[in-house]
């Protein structure tokens, strides 16, 4: 398990941090952009530290969601890493790095709109009259 590339670790931990499945995250088409943004905005040693901690949480949890969440709260929301972690989550949810919108596409792929059962204003429009009804819900298996 520890043979993961940093990008794989990034994706896996993002699943636990965002509450979205791997395919949900991949479906935004933003993985490469976000991974690169994350790495480029940090000092190299911080990147290394962060992924070391992430891998440790993932490797020592025996795939228990509960244990991973505990690790996240303790380590990734710990005072040293909390700002990186919240930036990472914010990136998936809004397409922003800090106050800056990463790209036009990142804005339209923000997961916060999905969480709100809405859509990013100005993109992914739901069609004439859709707002008169509750949002569409398609049952999952």
């Amino acid at each position: 398990m520890s043979k993961k590339t940093p990008k794989e670790s990034f994706l896996t931990i993002s699943v636990y941090l965002t509450g979205y499945s791997q395919v949900d995250l991949l479906g935004t088409g933003m993985l490469d952009t976000y991974y690169n943004t994350f790495v480029e905005n940090l000092e190299i040693e911080n990147v290394t530290t962060y992924f070391k901690e992430v891998d440790q949480i993932l490797d020592n949890s025996g795939n228990s969601e509960e244990k991973i969440n505990e690790g996240i709260t303790k380590v990734l929301f710990g005072s040293a890493l909390v700002s990186l972690t919240t930036n990472l989550i914010t990136m998936w949810y809004t397409g922003n790095w800090g106050q800056d919108v990463i790209s036009p596409e990142s804005y339209t792929q923000g997961l916060i709109w999905n969480a709100a059962q809405a859509h990013p204003p100005g993109a992914k429009q739901p069609g004439y009259g859709s707002w008169a009804d509750e949002p569409i819900e398609i049952p999952t298996i």
């Binding site: 499945s21 791997q22 395919v23 949900d24 991949l26 479906g27 935004t28 088409g29 036009p104 596409e105 339209t108 992914k124 429009q125 739901p126 069609g127 004439y128 009259g129 859709s130 009804d133 569409i136 398609i138 049952p139 999952t140 298996i141």
Partner: protein, 361 residues
């Protein structure tokens, strides 16, 4: 010869289901057989529907903000296919039939074959590419109204002509006529927008004939001078046939006003970026993925949405025309779900997943 540019709809494509093939091959089908007429109209609905998934795949695979011309063109063609599907249902309703739009065999299994004897080619669900546009050209060409040689070969135009004649004959020979369907079943023009053409509600023979004209695209041909200065300046393009629209994409060039229908387009170049697409795996299937995997689930959700749309269309064409409005939201949702799939790697080979357009319960 048909005019290259038409005000209304065009020479049409047809992709033909096996059911439809039968009716074509049954050369002696009785034009006075009322049940057969209803069957043929049901086949017409299925035909009109069957190009929609391939065209949608090509359309959705184009990356956002690129290939403006291709997006606009394919989008308008898809909208017109839907228009024709609903109009075929209107005719069927007008003569007391019941369109069936959500049955398991309504959706063809892709890749699917075209019935043309001499030109066998398979139609895929796949990305926007020169290859797929070439297939679309062949689909559209198959709608050619020209008579063909060989006993087994009939054009789509002839099929609609048969429906047309059958409607006239049976209506004439039936006391009180056959247009006894409930008028409230008709889907009316207010529910249609977004492309050329006109949604014609059918209450009598004349309406039915007008609707068939509209479907067959024998609209008013005009001469070749589409570009006068004002129109160009104010961006008003004339509508013309689907075949020619696809041909412009294929050749990355617009027709010039003097081009004849046999010519390759020779006008302004169009910017087509063949690489600005999601590299969708051809003809994806739910069965490609382990049951319960995330991609299986996503594809299932897509198909579920697609089924909801077909159910919605079914209801709209069976007494609840206002349901069409609600279908709009499903259409958009379908697109966003397809896009999510197209952005998700299929395997580690650079190919992406995609919508499978399969019947699910």
């Amino acid at each position: 010869m048909e005019a290259l540019f038409q005000k209304s709809n065009s020479k049409r494509h047809r992709l033909i289901s096996n059911k439809f093939l039968q009716s074509l091959n049954d050369r002696n089908f009785d034009l006075l057989d009322f049940d057969k007429l209803k069957e043929n109209l049901q086949s017409a609905i299925e035909l009109e529907h069957s190009t929609i998934p391939p065209y949608l795949c090509a359309l959705y695979s184009i990356k956002e903000g690129t290939n403006e011309f291709a997006v606009k063109t394919i989008r308008s063609i898809v909208v017109e296919e839907m228009l024709h599907m609903v109009m075929a249902a209107n005719i069927l309703n007008a003569i007391g039939g019941s369109p069936a739009i959500n049955t398991p065999d309504f959706i063809p299994e892709y890749p699917t074959k075209l019935p043309m004897i001499d030109e066998t080619f398979m139609v895929d669900l796949g990305k926007f590419s020169k290859e797929s546009i070439d297939i679309f050209l062949q689909i559209e060409k198959s709608a050619d109204h020209k008579p063909h040689g060989g006993d087994d070969y009939h054009s789509i135009g002839e099929f609609y002509t048969a429906i047309r004649e059958s409607l006239i004959l049976i209506d004439k020979n039936t006391p009180g006529g056959i247009f006894t369907g409930k008028p409230e079943l008709q889907v009316t023009s207010e529910q249609y927008y977004g492309s050329g053409g006109k949604l014609i509600p059918v209450y009598c023979l004349e309406d039915a004939l007008e609707a068939i004209e509209e479907i067959m695209g024998q609209g008013e041909g005009i001469d070749n001078s589409i570009y006068d200065g004002d129109q160009e300046m104010f961006g008003e393009d004339k509508e013309y046939a689907h075949y020619f629209k696809f041909n412009e994409i294929y050749h990355e060039r617009k027709y010039s006003p003097t081009d004849k229908s046999d010519d390759e387009p020779s006008g302004h170049p169009i910017n087509i970026e063949w690489n600005e697409v999601y590299n969708m795996q051809k003809n994806p299937k739910m069965s490609d993925y382990p049951v319960g995997s995330e991609l299986y689930q996503k594809t299932y959700e897509f198909n579920k949405t697609y089924m909801a749309l077909l159910n919605n269309l079914h209801d709209a064409c069976n007494g609840q025309p206002d349901m069409l409005l609600k279908g709009v939201a499903l259409m958009y949702d379908l697109k966003y779900k397809a896009l999510e799939l197209m952005k998700t790697p299929y395997e580690d080979d650079g190919l992406m997943a995609g919508p499978s357009f399969e019947y699910v319960n």
